[in-house]
Each structure stands twice: as structure tokens, then as C-alpha cells.
Symmetry: D2
Subunit: 336 residues, 4 copies
């Protein structure tokens, strides 16, 4: 049960509401986001919600029995659109592109990438400065200094930054240099990190775990939302199956179904979704047809020399072609 409170609810009204809920043995969790005040009631008793909805100080009320509530379409009919600056809108009706290298490597690399993105009208640049690596002996990113350099260059170019945060301690230091925080697949159920990102006033792109169900993904989003941050995007990036012909198996069904289950934007990551450079374009285009609100993909001036993941990274020419095709596919979908 989600109770949206009036912004000027009085202490007495709150007390009356709390007593009412307690009488049903419901637990009430207050949620205060950038946009509104909510009470999330969890309990098992059946009752007529109008008995609560008629109390004073309450704006709206909705019964939701899913494990996730606030991120559910059962609560919010209108689609969430995340805005970055005046220029960027991510959500239904818009088409977002985020592109860049797996890892931020050097000033030259950043400059070349920014030029490429600007030329193509891509407004968000991706890149890792903290890299999760299966092996402790692999390159783990340039860290905060790399981020600062990148930020100063991106700002000048008018391009927003999305990058992965791996632990709560990094948030504060990264805050001023990041436009979208990315939570990686391995941290999709790192609940402490999700809690912390719920208290940040920046959009968060939450990747699905490598074997995470849709329900788990939505519950992880609920963590962020219930700590106060409504600016969340979900990202399908391929799941782990028995098939070894590709690195991951892009779950195209997830894109179609998430758009139905939640009001949050859904972004596709075809680079990880198949993990084979040659097919990234086809999977990107398929994702748009399935309903994705945007595509995040890897591009590098010379993929074969990239620090990491070069085998799934497009070169600039390939990216030029893909971007043009994606725009056409999105336009066609809008006509449907």
C-alpha cells in the first residue's frame, strides 16, 4: 500500500494515520523523495483502503501487493522521465544514447571520443574509472583523477557523464563530476550501495544482475526510490544462460516486459548483451523495437588497442552507422 501525503500534512494528521495503520498491524515506512512524501504500508490484513484514503492530509492512496511498490505501474501511471540539464530527457517519448569506451584511458582518448559524440549528436558519454574485474591482476581504472580530467573536458564539450560507482565511499568524491551514477551488474543487489544512492540527487542507471530476475531488479530499484531518489533508469545488459556462443544472452523479453511493469525508463546495453562487436548493431536495433528508451554502447577509436573489452567495442565508423540506424528505427517505432 502506497500513501502519498499532502505536502502540508500536520503532525496531528500524521498521528491519526499512524494509529490507523497500527490498528491493522501494518508497518509504515516513510519515504521522502525529490518530488513527494510517501508512506509505504506493509502488512497482511485485508481492509478497505478508503478507510485510510479519507483521512485528512492524504493526497492519494493505492494498494500494491508486489514486493516492489513505488516503481510499479500500479502506483504511478505516468512514465518517469529523467532530466539532465535542460537538454537531456530520458524516458518514454525520447531516445537516449550513451556511448564511450569501457575504460577511461587518457586525455587523447577522451578528446577523440568527445569529438566523435558531438559530431553524432550523442549527449552522454560512458566510461569506467573504477572497473570491477574478475581477476585481481587486471587494470582497475584511473580512479578519481581520471574522472576529474574527464569531467573538465566533457563539461567544456557540453556532454554529460555516466560512470560506474562501486562502493558507498566513492559517492561523495565522485558527486561533483558525474551526471548519472551507474550501478554495475555485480552490484545489482549491493543493498548498502543502493541505500546510499537513494540519498543522492542524481539519476542512477541500475543494471540487472547477471542472473537477476525482473522482480529482483525492480526490488533493487525500490531500494533507491524508497531512500528518496526517484530518478532511476533500469538497464538490460544480458543474462547468463547455458549458451556459450556469446558472452551473455540479451534478454529482449525483459525490455518489453519492464516497460509494462514499471514507469521507469529502460535502457538497453547491446555491447554486453551479446559481447561480440559484429552483432552489437543488430541487438541495439532489436532493443529499440522491443521498447527501449535508450541504448548504451561501447565505442573506441581503436577497439583492438582498448584496455579492456575490445572485442565488444565498435570503432567510430561502426558507431556512426549504428547511430544513424537507431534514429531511424526509433522514428519508425514512434509511428507504430
Amino acid at each position: 500500500m502506497i500513501i502519498q501525503l499532502d505536502q502540508d500534512i500536520t503532525a496531528a494528521q500524521q498521528k491519526a494515520l499512524a494509529d490507523k495503520l497500527a490498528s491493522f498491524q501494518f508497518k509504515a515506512t516513510p519515504v521522502s523523495t525529490q518530488f513527494a512524501e510517501y508512506l509505504i504500508g506493509t502488512g497482511k490484513v485485508e481492509f478497505d483502503i478508503r478507510g485510510i484514503g479519507n483521512l485528512e492530509g492524504i493526497k492519494d492512496i493505492h494498494r500494491v501487493s508486489d514486493a516492489y511498490k513505488l516503481v510499479s505501474r500500479k502506483w504511478k501511471v505516468q512514465d518517469t522521465v529523467c532530466e539532465i540539464g535542460e537538454d537531456i530527457k530520458i524516458g518514454t517519448g525520447h531516445f537516449a544514447m550513451m556511448a564511450g569506451p569501457c575504460s577511461i584511458e587518457s586525455e587523447e582518448q577522451i578528446a577523440a571520443t568527445l569529438t566523435h559524440l558531438k559530431k553524432n549528436g550523442v549527449k552522454i558519454m560512458r566510461g569506467g574509472v573504477y572497473k570491477p574485474r574478475s581477476s585481481p591482476y587486471s587494470f582497475r581504472g584511473l580512479g578519481i583523477d581520471g574522472l576529474k580530467l574527464w569531467h573538465s573536458m566533457a563539461k567544456e564539450a557540453g556532454i554529460a557523464i555516466i560512470t560506474e560507482v562501486m562502493m558507498t565511499e566513492q559517492i561523495e568524491a565522485m558527486m561533483d563530476y558525474v551526471d548519472i551514477f551507474q550501478v554495475g551488474a555485480r552490484n545489482s543487489q549491493n543493498f548498502n550501495l543502493l541505500d546510499a544512492l537513494g540519498e543522492v540527487d542524481k539519476p542512477v542507471l541500475l543494471k540487472r544482475g547477471i542472473s537477476g530476475t525482473l522482480d529482483e531488479l525492480l526490488q533493487s530499484a525500490e531500494y533507491i526510490f524508497s531512500h528518496g531518489n526517484e530518478k532511476i533508469m533500469l538497464c538490460e545488459r544480458g543474462i547468463r544462460t547455458f549458451e556459450t556462443a556469446y558472452r551473455n544472452t540479451m534478454d529482449i523479453n525483459a525490455i518489453a516486459m519492464l516497460k509494462e511493469k514499471t514507469h521507469l525508463p529502460v535502457i538497453a546495453d547491446p555491447s554486453h548483451g551479446i559481447g561480440v562487436r559484429q552483432f552489437v548493431d543488430k541487438i541495439a536495433l532489436a532493443s529499440i523495437m522491443a521498447g527501449a528508451d535508450g541504448v548504451i554502447f561501447e565505442v573506441h577509436s581503436t577497439p583492438e588497442k582498448a584496455f579492456s573489452d575490445g572485442q565488444q567495442t565498435l570503432n567510430f565508423g561502426e558507431a556512426d552507422a549504428l547511430i544513424s540506424k537507431m534514429r531511424k528505427a526509433f522514428r519508425l517505432r514512434q509511428e507504430f
Copy 2:
């Protein structure tokens, strides 16, 4: 190693070739299809294939070390196009639609479906007369009588028939009434059935097993081809994963990658690929963008009353809309 033989190769030339192969300890399997004569050589010794290619009576030779050879692009550069009558072409450059109910139920149902397909320009009707059912207490189809009725009506309407064959004993009886034999997911590695279909001069649509790898699918196709039938289409129909939000997980990656690995047409089955009626259209459109040469889907005048699988079956109105969208998506893809 694939050796394509001259059509007029002499016995003496064949003997010379056999001796040569034996000298390398290679096993030679003769393959005679509708279109050509081949020898498939399997063995482990490395040698210069020109030593064989220069023998008389040999048209072409190619080294292929994959477990599948004839269905591989390493052998055949040009895409296979399956033709049915003068009117229907299935393969690269064409877009095939196959639609109809899960099960053939009645004369009225057949008539209504044929009318719907004709109106939409769909030239192939799907439907089961032998139904594989997990439970022995479920409806198992109208059998050969249903097929004969269907065939007489479809012929009059000028519509081709695709239907599932479940066992070798059925082939002969079905032969005159079927345009495309379908092999279901559960029979994807029923090698005796594949052998038998290899000796039939009709196209075969081979579905991927519910947890079959791409390599297994291609090896199953190799069974059919190596028994003499080159008219094969592969079908991606969703795989089994940990995700329970949908009946199967459409493996969109498979469509993109199969088109690269093989010269055979690749058909998408979005109805089974997601198993939820509401999303069949999105998955169909995504499949086209991923490279599918055609789409097979379920349609019924009243899905809620269908004998089986109604929950993934479109009604006529939904199918009308989808067909129109698919044509537009295919046209856009052709422009790319």
C-alpha cells in the same frame, strides 16, 4: 572437409578419390541432395587440400573443421532460399510470414484463419494436427483427418501449409498434404526423425531445442542436409533460463549469430519466444531487426477459446496490426 563432385564423375575417378582419402585415414560420407553430390571427409590429419582438389571429377573442395559442415557459411557463400511453388521464397532478401492457430480445431476455424491470412497477404498457414503435450491427458490434435481437411481448404485458398511431424511413421501419410514439415523443439535432437526428413523433398523448419546450443541446432540441420535435403530453415523459439516472468526467453542473439554462421534461412517464433500475447508484437519486430528472414506466430479468431496456448495467441485485429508493422520494419532493415 567438403568435396563437391562433378555430376558426371566416373567410377574410376571416385575410386582414385576414395584411395586418396583412405591414405590420410579420412572417413568419407557420401551425401546426395536435391542439388548436388558431396563427399564429407572427417579425420584428424593435416594435409594440403589441393592434393585432392586437383583430382579429376571434383568440382570444388573446402576445409571445414566445425562439427557441422554443409550448413556452414564456410562451405557455401550464397544464402539458401527455400522456394514453395512459384510464389513463396524464404531466405535472405525476402520476408516470410507463417501464421495460424496452435492446433487445427475445426472447419470453421480453418476457414476463418484462411480468410484472415489472405486478406493480409500471408501465404503460409501454421497449425498443429499432432501436438506434443507434456501431459498424457491433454488434447493431442485432430491427426491425419484434420490435416486432409485443412489441406483441401488451404489449397483452394492458395495458402501453403506448415505443420509439425513428430515421428518417422507419420511422414509418408502426411507427405501429400504438407508444404513445410516442422520439427518441434522437443524433437530437435530426434536424430532418427532428422534422418528420415533428410530423404524427403520438402522444406523442413527445424526448431531449436529448449536448451539447445546453436552448435547443436546446426548439427541437427547437418543431419537433414547430409541425408539429401538441402531445404532447411532454422527457427529460434526461445530458450529455458532461470527467468520465470515469461514462458521462454527469446534468444535474440541467436538470430543475429545464426545468420552469420549458416547460409540457411532463420525464422523467429515470438509467440513461443515470450509466451505472453501482449508482447508478441514487440518481440516479432525485434527479431526482424536482428536479421530474421521470417516470423511464425499464433493467431486465432478467439484466443481465449483456443484449444491450447491461448495465452500467447493474437486475435485477428492484433495480427492485422502486427503484419503491417512487420512489413514496415522489414523495409527499414532492407534500407540499412
Copy 3:
């Protein structure tokens, strides 16, 4: 709903029963096995089963709402024990071993294996004469002649034979030379084959499909049972997962749970369950602790020279050691 009929039920009594069921819109499937006559009622209406149970000519009645009924413990409390000759019992309270090569290769191989088994008190020999192969270019077994040779030698040695049947057409020819028909993983949902084996008066060992659920396995067993053959054993042989460190992932949970869900014997196949020779013994012993009624495993005088699957096959010395350990483990389990 399962209705067990009196053996001397009259036509009039049957008619009364049929009318009663029809009045509830229940479909009735008659099942006649080696041991009893049943009616399986399937329908959706709720009613008091005593209204039927009190009719004349009825021995017992039980409501079962699972998709499988006859193989369920909800129907039959006492465990099924399959007997072969006077000497072999397979089921709760007994411990069955079945051992032998992947493929039957030669007279020498059969002789050596039989000697090895007799020495160890193993009473059932496994081996394939029809081999399902992913690739059409692999060895497919010695066929019926190999089986006849094997049978004459095994009979003399007093050893029973279990071997795989791949298609209905093979059953008749194999019948006189086989003690247990094995249905392989790839044919676990080959319903026509299951139907046909339901009409045979020989035990059937039914392997779980490579990604078959327990419910699907039990429904496949129900096919056999509902066609008249109650002598069924289930076999866990590893499932397909994301893990590639072994050929299959032995589902030890399945053994424990199947023993609870069904009255049929459950056999473990550790050779395929892990597919790595070095660990077959550990998985065999674990399977016994989980509740397996028997173990089927691969043994060969010289595994490295075996025609197929040598990498999961024990040599005679390894098998000697394993058999001794298994007997001890089974004895310990019986004490628990």
C-alpha cells in the same frame, strides 16, 4: 482423480460410473496396466469424491490435482519395486548397480565387461547399440546385430541388459534381447516413444531431459504408466546450466525430491552427471546419500580407447573400488 476399478467390474457398473463422471463434465481415460485397471478423471469441477467412491465396481479412489497422477505418491503409498527375473529388485530397500561401456564395441569388449561385472556382483550391464550423436558423422552403434551378440553372451553369464531405444520401430526387434529399455535424455519428451513403451511388459529407465523439470519428467513417466506399463525407473543424469567446468551439473536435489514425489525407483547416473572420470566416484556416493535406489555408470577396460565418452568412463580398477565404496555407503544409509 484416479479411480481404481475392481477386476470384475461389470459393464453396467462401468456405464453408471461413466454417466456419473460425464455429469461433472469430467473426461475419463481408461488405463489398464500389468497390475490393475484404472480410470483417470480430468476436469475442473469440485465435488465430493465419495459420491463416486461409493459406486459398485470401484476398489479405491483418490483425488490428485497434479499434472501427473498415477506416478504420484498422492496415489500410491507403497514404493514400486521393479523386478527382473528372480534375482534383481530395483526400488526402495534394494541397491541396484548397472555398469558397462558407453557403446557396445566388440565380442572381446563384451566378454571383458561381463567378467568384470560378475566378479563384482553387478547384475545389470549397460551399453549402447543405438547411439544418439549430435553430429551425423559420429559412430552410431552396432545396431541390432550387436545387441543379439551381447544378449547371447550376457544370458550365459546371467547378467541382465539395459540399453537405449531411440524410436518406436526399434522396440519390436529389440524386445527379446533387452531386460530394461532405456529412454535417453534427448527422448525424454518423445511422447510417441513413451506411448509405445507403455504397451511393453518390460521395465523402462526414463532419463530426465537435459533441461527437463521434475514435473516434466514425472509427466513423461505418466505417459508410460497410462499406457499400461507400471515398471518405470527415473534417472537423474545431470542438467544443463551456465557452468562449463563440467559437461553437466548433477542435480542432487532432484534425487532427494523425486523420492518424495513419486513411488517409482530413482537411479543416479554420475558418469553423465559430471562427465569427468576423476569425480564420478564422489558423485556416485553423494547420490546414494541423497536417496538414490541405484547407480548406472560407465566402465571400460581401456577408457582412453573407448569409441565414445571415454573421458567419463572408469577403468576396471576404478570401478572395483567404487563398487565397494557404494555398498558401504548404501549400508550406512540403511542404518539412518
Copy 4:
């Protein structure tokens, strides 16, 4: 390549070694653990390791090309045994039991559990004070205060404590109250947490990720080891597959194979491995036969009233019986 250094290696000797490695374009990572000093060399050039092994200041050298090196048996022949106090040994030749509730709930619960464990000779108590929960609205544990209470009671009873740590910030506060840090399945690739635990002088039980491969698990262990902590145990706790009959699928193969791949102790968690109370005992016993060095399981005085996961938790009587059986199974295995 692993280079074990003499404890009294000189700066000059280190310099010579560094130069040598640099000449091969090898990257050298120094690792200093509780027990030894290592250099891990990573690079691609082939060379004769004796050229390095003969340098002064080097104790031993071994080429290991796996992604994990220090935790590999290719490096260390002798099994690692983790010791806690004078009394507890975990590793080959010993049998460890860890039991207790899912969540620490109250003083009464702790007292009852400790009494139960002491009576059964179980020396390690498990329990969560920080609980990872899919839903933000679930109980998340008693936190540090619960841990302190538990610790004071357990210390008096002479029982060691294992509990989950979820984030690096918790380590310091927990340090004095914990005997074994547990890393949960969801944090199996939380590399920052692994880094931090590598700097702690306490044993770490590392759970396999819910869809983690054995290689990923071993690489995660390598993180801990390469930061200085050699006291690591691996834990198999079930993986995610297509089967929904149980919460997870216990990967019994993993236990057998991990014991071969690594010198670290391997612990089985049958409670999560199947997730169904009734079968926990069978899976525990199977795990011992597969080679587990210990078993961690859930027990509660009244499972049906437990705060969480009651459906997989044994009551005291069930645990009494299981412990007795496990000891017998372990004794039998030792005889093999």
C-alpha cells in the same frame, strides 16, 4: 607465475628480480600475507622460469597460467587448514560444523541455540546481524548491538561466531566480535569488500555467487589472498537454474571439483543449496560424500516462527539427528 620470496631478501636482490621481470614485460604484483611474501608475475611472454628461480632471495617459483594463482593447487600442494583458537581446525582431514539461525533475533534465541550446539559438540555458530534482503521493506537484522550481545554469550559458551559482513565500513566495528567473516552470495564479486577482507587477520568464508562459475569463485578468493589473507574457505550454496522445484540447485559437482582445483577448505551449505527443510539432511550427507570439509546449516528452536527463511531451517531435534548422521558419513569417507 608465483615467486615466493625469502623472508630476508635484500633490496638489491629485489631490484635484480624486478629488472629481470621487466625485461620480459611482466607486471609484478607484490603479495604479503600472514605467512609469506610473494610476487605474482603476469605477462604473456614464454621463457624459462629457471632463469628467475636461480636468482638470489627467491625461495620457490612456479608457473601458473590460470586467472587464479595463489589459491590454485598448481601453486600449493598441501591443503590449507584454517585454525580458530586452539580447538577448531577447518580443512582436509577435519570435519567442521557451523549451525544457527538465519537471523540473530534475541537473547533467548541465542541462549537456546548455544545450548543446543554445545550439547552436540558443534563449535561454530552462524547467524546474521546484517541481512541482505531483496525487498527494502524486510527485516534487515539487529546490527552491531546484536552482534555484541551474541559475542559475549558465545564467548562464555566457548563457541566461535561466523556472520556476514556486507560492506567494508562494517569490518572495523565487527572485528573484535567475529571469528569468521562470511561473504554472502550477492557479494561474491564485490571486489572492494574482498580487497578489504584481504587485509584482515581473520578467516573468511566466501560464498559462491548465485550464478558464479567456479573460476569466478576462485578469482574472488584470489582477491582476498593477494591482499594478504590466506585464511579462506569456499562455500557452495546452490546455484540458479531453470528448475523451480527448489529455491536453488545444489551443485554437488562443484564440491568435488573445487577440492581438486584449490588447496582451500570447501564448505557445503545445504540449507540454501535446496531451500526445503525436509531435504536438508540428504543434501548435507551427499555433500560430505562429495568431499566437503564442513557443513553450514540453519537451525532454530521454532523454525516456523523464525524471522526469515524458516522454510529451510531445521528444528533442534532434526539437527540432533543430522549431526549424528554427518559424523558417521564423515567417518566412512575417511575410511575410503
